[in-house]
Every structure is written in structure tokens, then in C-alpha cells.
Symmetry: D3
């Protein structure tokens, strides 16, 4: 028989077949800190590489749908909706991603993947504005990525 030589390493996608189909909503948020001049360029839509927030919205939504490919132990899901929103701060951009699903497992990982990919896409779009002369990023960083709300209710 199979002897599990290293039981601790037995990662698996856990069985959810016994759970109920309920409505699940998760909302995650996070911030990317940027130079003020970069935030101005985003606000005024004069970033040479393209529209920053629209590109980040599409990237975040597509990534949220790819969660089970990226996070090994996540279940593939037929999610009901995904949206990504942004708020411009003085020194950065706050992003949020909300995912809704009717089924047997929560969708906070989907919301987290969506918001993180949206923030990383913002970074990619403004790279040339954020780099110093040595090619380093003295200001740019992503922080405060968290799940702000998880809802679970009967259909």
C-alpha cells in the first residue's frame, strides 16, 4: 500500500463536495504607492504606455478568473461576477476587486488575485515614470492587500 513518506508535503485540493451551494461574495483591496507626479499622469491620462486604470481593470478581471491556475490548491469555479475599481490617492492608487459566486467554496482568493494583478499592472504601466536614473524604484511599493469583506448567505 501507499506509505506516505512525507505526510507534511501532501498538499491537496480539499474536498468540498459535502458543502452547501450558498451565495458567496468577497471584496479585497490593496494600495500601490507612487510618486505624486505619477498619480497626476494617471489622473490626466497622459501615460505613454496607455490608459492605466482601464488596462489594470481588464488584467485584474482576467486574473481573478485564472485563480485556480495560479494558486495550486484553489478549486476551478464558475464565478457569477467580477469587478475591479480604483480610487486615486495623493501618493498612490487604491484598487478593489469584488467577486461573487454561488457554490461550495469562498472566493476571497479570486478577489485577492484580481486586486493584486490590477496593482501589478498599474506598476507595469508607469514603470518609466517611477524608475530613478539607476533604474531602481525608490518609491513604488504595493501594500495593505487584504480581504475587506466576505459574505455568505442562502440563495
Amino acid at each position: 500500500m501507499f506509505t506516505h513518506i512525507d505526510d507534511s508535503g501532501r498538499a491537496r485540493v480539499v474536498d468540498v463536495s459535502g458543502k452547501d451551494d450558498v451565495v458567496r461574495i468577497a471584496r479585497a483591496e490593496g494600495v500601490i504607492y507612487l510618486k505624486e507626479s505619477t498619480v497626476d499622469a494617471i489622473r490626466e491620462n497622459r501615460v505613454a504606455k496607455g490608459n492605466v486604470l482601464n488596462t489594470a481593470t481588464v488584467a485584474g478581471i482576467l486574473a481573478a478568473k485564472k485563480t485556480s491556475e495560479l494558486i495550486p490548491m484553489c478549486h476551478p469555479l464558475q464565478i457569477s461576477s467580477v469587478s475591479v475599481d480604483f480610487e486615486l490617492l495623493e501618493n498612490g492608487v487604491r484598487a478593489a476587486c469584488e467577486v461573487k459566486y454561488v457554490g461550495k467554496t469562498g472566493v476571497e482568493m479570486e478577489a485577492l488575485v484580481g486586486v493584486t494583478t490590477a496593482l501589478l499592472t498599474v506598476w507595469d504601466m508607469v514603470k518609466s515614470l517611477e524608475k530613478d536614473e539607476g533604474g531602481q524604484y525608490p518609491v513604488t511599493r504595493i501594500s495593505d492587500v487584504r480581504v475587506v469583506e466576505k459574505v455568505k448567505r442562502e440563495k
Copy 2:
């Protein structure tokens, strides 16, 4: 001829064909804050869902290789190497991802995607340890995701 009705929206993968082939290395880091008891469980390898850091390593490496699928304006690259490392903190886990490439474009986005996906995978693996009785995450968050070093040198 084509009149660009909304020039600001013309996102594109910028032409790098005129650039030189140089060695490029990027290292990104980030932290996930967790309960101390969760860090203990990771250190002692007694998380029911599987080995947390090994799973996160593989996830981070695979994601770094998928960067051009996730971040819309990134170029597809034949990267030379990728690695993911972790440091256990008292109240969290610090992850790092280092990517090397010989070619015409930097690889900081690859390193950032790698480290972010590694941290998100840590989150996914310890969800049941981090949630409170209402299913919320009062402690868990990802912060300080940044590029710690970018190198560019002749072959």
C-alpha cells in the same frame, strides 16, 4: 486612414527590438502578516492543507513564467532562471523572487508576479488558521511588495 479617436487608450506592448541583449537580474520581496500561531504551524510543517512554503515556491515560479499572460503589456521572455525564497518572521513570512534573463527588457515584473503569487499561495494554504469565527481575516495582509534590486550588465 486610422484616426485614433481615443489616443489615451492605446495601450501597447512597446517595441524593444532596438535594445541590446544584456544580462538582467531583478529581485522583488514582500511580506504576508499572519498570526504568530500560524507562523508556528508553518515552521513546524503541521498545516493540514500541505507544505506551505514548498507549495508557494512552485506557485511563485510558475507564475513568474506566466507574467506576459497576466500583465497585458509585458513581453513574452525566455527567462534564464527563477527562484523563490522565504524567511519566517515572528508575525509573518517574507518572500523573495529572483529572476535572471539575457535580452532586451528588464524582468522586475516577473519577479514581482513571482513574489506576489508566492505570498498569495501562503495565504491560501493557511486560510483556516487565519479566519475568525465570522469567516473574516482580521490579521492577514500582504505588504511591502517592492523591487529590492535590479541589475543590468554586459554579457
Copy 3:
């Protein structure tokens, strides 16, 4: 709170959780125009790069299943069936893709992605037969891609 600075850009995967589970069938068609000699080569299965219609069938089916990865606002779906068919014309090939699904959203985008990818694969398989001496395509084009039928009925 989040102020939507550019409301028009707020693309999203719309919520379908309130819709009923019904049987949905969509059929899309399209044509690729080719040289008559190329159609003959397809009919007689003497295209050097391989069997054109079989390769295009597999490509169309795989692409239809990837629709939610390609079309940003499409929902991931557990489709029930997909098929691709071809009709040889004198000066081209007509392709059709039919998709069936039981659920909350129509599948015309899946059928359209399937038929389009099938036609593009035909193009790829016969490139060397269609190019002129300058490497251009004076004849080849894809046209009349449309949804020929959408059905929605109770289970």
C-alpha cells in the same frame, strides 16, 4: 469611499447569479476565402503541413473552451458540448461551431471564438499555398462571421 473617477472604464463581468438555468445552444459560422487551387489541396488532403480540417477542428474546439480567458468579460462555463464542421466552397471554406450549455448565460461568444479560431487555423495550415512571391496574401480573407442561431429553452 471609492469615487469612480472614470466611470466609463469600469468594465466588469456582469452578475448572472439571478438568472435561471436553461438549455442554451449557439451556432456561429464564417468563411475563409482561398485560391481555388488551395481548396483543391485541402479536399485532396495534400497540404504539406498536415490535415487542414482535422487540425482546425481540434483548434476550434480547444479555443471555444478557452473563451473566458480570451474575451475579458465572459464567464467561465462548464459547457456541455462543442463541435466544429466545415463545408468546402469553390473559393473557400465555410466553418461552423455549435456550443451547448445548461446554465445562466448564452454561449454565442464561445461559438464565435470556436469558429474564428478554426478559420484562422485553416489560414495557418495553407499559408505557403496562399502567399504570392512577395509574401503577401492577395486573396485570403475571413468574412461573414456571424451567429446563425441562438436557442434558449427549459431543461
Copy 4:
């Protein structure tokens, strides 16, 4: 030895290792025909599902980079640049996709996949405006998808 029982079916990715590394540019175009009122809604950016042309730009660029996954016999390529443009017509939208690459194989399939996916994304974004009361699409169709220019020159 291997006897090829059905030689005609032996599709393959053909060997390009003997070819020279040259600069290659391909530009493909296509049109989606729409109701005039839908074109107005796109122009005035009042489509409920989001910004149509920005979403289609990102979708087209991502798809062009995925060409070797979608078209079975295409080579995976480190493309140098991709862009997608649109022109609003009275009764539709014309899209173009331009791809540049330095290497051993042409990139017309990449440009065709990009333009087709951009047009399909336009369709998806305006579905509710184009459907009649029976859920059918009496007007919408994609046509004239072709390669308008292929360039090949020394580095």
C-alpha cells in the same frame, strides 16, 4: 520502424532553425458591422459593460501573445511589440493589429489572432445593444479580416 499509416494527418510545427533572424512586421485588419446606434454608444463611451475599445485593445494584445497556444502549428515567439488600433465607421468598427518580431518566422498569424480577438471583444461588450427581442443578431458580423502588410528586412 514507424510506418505512417495516415501520412496526410501528420500535422507538425515545421522546422525553422535554418532560417535567418530578420525583422518581421505584420499588420492585419478587420471590421465588425454594428447598428449605427451601437457605434454612437461606443463613440460616446456609454456602453454599460465598460469601455469597449480599451477592453478590446487589451484583449487583442493578450491574444496575439497567446497565438502559439491557439493555432496548433504556430511557433512560440518572443515578439518585440504589439499594438491594436480602431477606426469608428458609420456602421461598424475597423480594427488593426500590428506585431513586430526579430527572428525566423513571420508574425501574420499573431496579427490576425490579435485583430480577431479585438473584434470579438467588441461584439461581447455590445451584445445587449445588438440583440433583437428574440435574442438574435440580425446585423452584427465580422468581415474583411486580412493581412494588409507583411514586411521582412535585415536587422
Copy 5:
């Protein structure tokens, strides 16, 4: 109308919409034969490229979830669970993959893709230990890949 010129080539994802939703479990196994010294290195976790069995577990699980992308006529499924296990033999490693699903189609292909990818990942991790001085693999081979159990029962 469509005349099917080559009916035999009409591959398709067959319609399962008329089938019942039942619990389905499939377990597949297979073996990779290796040098005894390589099995020792795996057992003692001193393979330079990383932890072999943990990496193979994650790879197998991710691949099982990708089955409908890899095997053209497979349906995309919201699987309930996946796990991968290993048994060290004297001269190889036996792997098993178990997949559970509640729905209209069996999951043996998912289990087979999972076990095969796990075994191929073992191979990749120990390449340098298995190759002879000419770079060939005199010992390594994958065998006995089979479905050991398929279960189908009412919910």
C-alpha cells in the same frame, strides 16, 4: 447545407447535458523507473533542484485542473478535490492521483493527467542524476499508467 466531407474527422466534445449529476471518483496510478541511487537521493531529500515529491505533487494537481485544455475532447469541470500521493520503490517511484467530482461526466482523464504530470515532474527534477555521460537515459522510463478505480454513486 453542410456536407461533411470527411465524417471520420469530426472530433467533438460530446453532449453530456442529458446525464445525471452523480458523485464520481477516479484514481490513476503509474510508475517511473529510476536508478536506485536516485531513489535514495529523493528519499533523503538531497536532490539539488529541489524537493522532488512536493514539486511533483503541486505539478500533478495543477495539471489535473488543466485537463480540458490538454485533452481536446474533455469537458471543463468544477472538480471537488484532487490529491497526489507517492510510494518509493527500490528502483522507482509509484504515483497516484485521485480526483472527485459531482456532475455528468467521469474524471479518469483528470486523474491520468495528474499522475502522468507528477511522474514527468519527478523525471525533470532528477535529470542530472539519471543521465549517462552521453546525455542519454538508459534506465528512466514511465510505465503502468492505468486507472485503478472508478466510482460512480448517487449524491
Copy 6:
């Protein structure tokens, strides 16, 4: 600094940037054992689900190109060519996959992924012919998957 708490788990994509660009060819083979009646059905092209060998060819080629997505520590590569061949045996099908690449790393994993996916696709196409009345597979198995030749030579 980073203290590697579990050094053995530090899987990584190893650095190949110091290696030479040489021509690399790998050929892998494997066998799927089937009922004789199933082999007859494949030979006579009367399998209801579609043309078995053509579908398996396309699946194997696409999978070989996806190797770096499936096998975590494999490098993404711009491969030069891929082909898949079959030989019908009395009680099974032998498949081979040959991959060519000019670069810094061997392509045996690509050839192995290609041949394995081709064999798994054969299995999927003939499932209904191979299953017994209890839904089990008494005969079907994949064996002897190995690298038959690896070549490495100057350009």
C-alpha cells in the same frame, strides 16, 4: 538576511545563461495498450468521437509547447519544430514526439510531455470502446515512455 529554513525545498528553475546555443533534438516514445478491436477501430477510422490519431497529434504538439507551464522547473523555450508520429501495434499504439531547439537547454521534457499527452488523448478518444460493463479499464495502460534519442551539436 534570508535564512533558508528548509533548504531542501528550494526548488528553482536553474540558471542556464552561461550555456552555449547549440542545436538540440530529443525524441521520446511510449505505448498505449488497447484491445485489438479498439486498434482495428482506430485503423479503420470508425471511432465515434472523431479521428483518433489526428486529434492526438494536435494535442501532443500543443502540449509540448506548454511544457514550461506544466513542469514547474522547465524553462520557457522558442522551440524550432515539433512533430508527433504513431505506429499501430496489434494490441496498442506506439507514439513518438520529436522536438528541435537551438539554445541553452535540452528538450527531452518537451518531447516527453508531447508523447504522453498524445497517448492520453488516444485513451480519451477510445474510452467507450475500452471500458467494461462496470466502467473499469481492464486492458488500457500507458507504458514504456522513454527518451529514445537526445542529440546536441554545434549550429
